[in-house]
Symmetry: C2
Subunit: 254 residues, 2 copies
């Protein structure tokens, strides 16, 4: 097992951010500046083409850390952020740009590439979670949530399907093709967001992925607008969702 | 024009409730106990077979009055609460019970009966709004919202389609048959709730009604569960939605 090694520490927006590595995988752990009391942990998956410290990630981390007192961990996906791109990454990215330039659908390429990345990322996340749970402020028995849309969903759905430590997850905005089979094995509470006028993901595809989750408690949030117009209040909503499901069990397990 | 006449006053759960009549129509106006400063008004439509003071109504009123400082008005729909039933009402209710007893779909009867009630109720609501806006604590230029699911949606959708004073509305759980045409004329922000496993309203029917709204800002909340299992947190969500859209314009119009 690779231990978690902290490599840098900084403060911003009321949070302490500690860069870390677990083996070859770089990540950041955001925690309340007020201290490192034991608190629930949220794993956050970034979107395709971005990285662990993209503004969408730090913005959501603030909601979870400052608003709920949670710890939030984000790792760079394979080929993203501080990680090297392979020849395979380069080919897939070139194929995606070529499809965009030609006005062809990007879905088939994104589905295929994200599925490949998820195969690599799921064991990385599980090793990262092992290492994070060695930290006294997280511990081996605390509640763990997951939040991630787009590629964060492509990685998070197969992760949640095999990882029983994750007890609530907020997903959204993905095709069902490579994910429905994993979703059918997921029974934890789910909040799922999609855009009604998504120019990439057909309505029926988004609804089919939501439908596939076996969870008894699952909520779908649909908003009018195109793929990138997901309203900011959905980040607030996902935060409330995770607070509802992660904060309550904490008292019972302390 | 019928003036608003107060007939009784009581206090409960931090709210002042004033029973009123506008012509033949009985209603209740819930306001903050702390005073009657000018504040946004929410019109609330109750469900079929219930009435203006059903617990679902007073519960939502508390969220809006105590949580947001709004005024909330509820009137009894025709044939409901303190209002007499006509022979037509009795026939339709008997038909509904007969369909339920026979295990036949209740949709066709509910759609037809609610459509009839909406024809009567829309002018009643408009006269009630006229009278409410004569009150100094509401005023003629303040923001007005609407919230109502089930029959509250059957009445609220045609009301919002013809009533420009309503600037935001929370609807849900209805068939599109008699409502889609009105929905296509509605452009105000909408929040719409439906149940994914509704035993009465097929998914496609609920989604079609959401789709029909012409609103640029519209949000759909879908939850796993049967018709009556709408989660309580959807009432909180509708309250936040109305607060977002009604509270902000207030400062500008004072």
């Amino acid at each position: 097992m690779h231990p978690l090694q902290f490599t840098a520490e900084s403060s911003s927006h009321g949070m302490v951010g500690r860069d870390f590595t677990v083996g070859e995988v770089p990540g950041v752990l955001w925690s309340p500046a007020s201290g490192t009391d034991r608190a629930p942990l949220v794993l956050m998956g970034h979107g395709g083409g971005t990285h662990k410290k993209a503004s969408a990630m730090t913005g959501r981390a603030q909601l979870l850390v400052n608003g709920c007192g949670f710890h939030v961990a984000v790792i760079d996906a394979p080929g993203h952020g501080d990680r090297p791109r392979t020849a395979h990454d380069e080919r897939e990215i070139a194929a995606l740009y070529a499809a965009r330039a030609a006005g062809e659908p990007e879905g088939p390429i994104v589905v295929r590439y994200n599925s490949h990345l998820a195969e690599l990322a799921v064991p990385e996340w599980r090793a990262t979670l092992d290492a994070l749970q060695e930290r006294p402020e997280i511990g081996a028995h605390g509640p763990v949530g997951y939040v991630g849309i787009n590629m964060g969903t492509a990685i998070g759905v197969p992760l949640a399907a095999v990882e029983p430590r994750i007890t609530a997850a907020a997903f959204g905005q993905h095709w069902p093709d490579a994910l429905a089979e994993s979703a059918r094995r997921i029974t934890i509470p789910i909040e799922f967001a999609l855009q009604w006028d998504d120019e990439h993901i057909p309505r029926e595809a988004g609804l089919a992925l939501f439908d596939a989750f076996a969870s008894k408690e699952k909520t779908l949030h649909v908003n009018a607008g195109r793929h990138k117009e997901l309203p900011r209040f959905e980040a607030d909503s996902a935060t409330r969702f995770l607070a509802r499901h992660l904060a309550r069990p904490l008292a019972a397990q302390v």
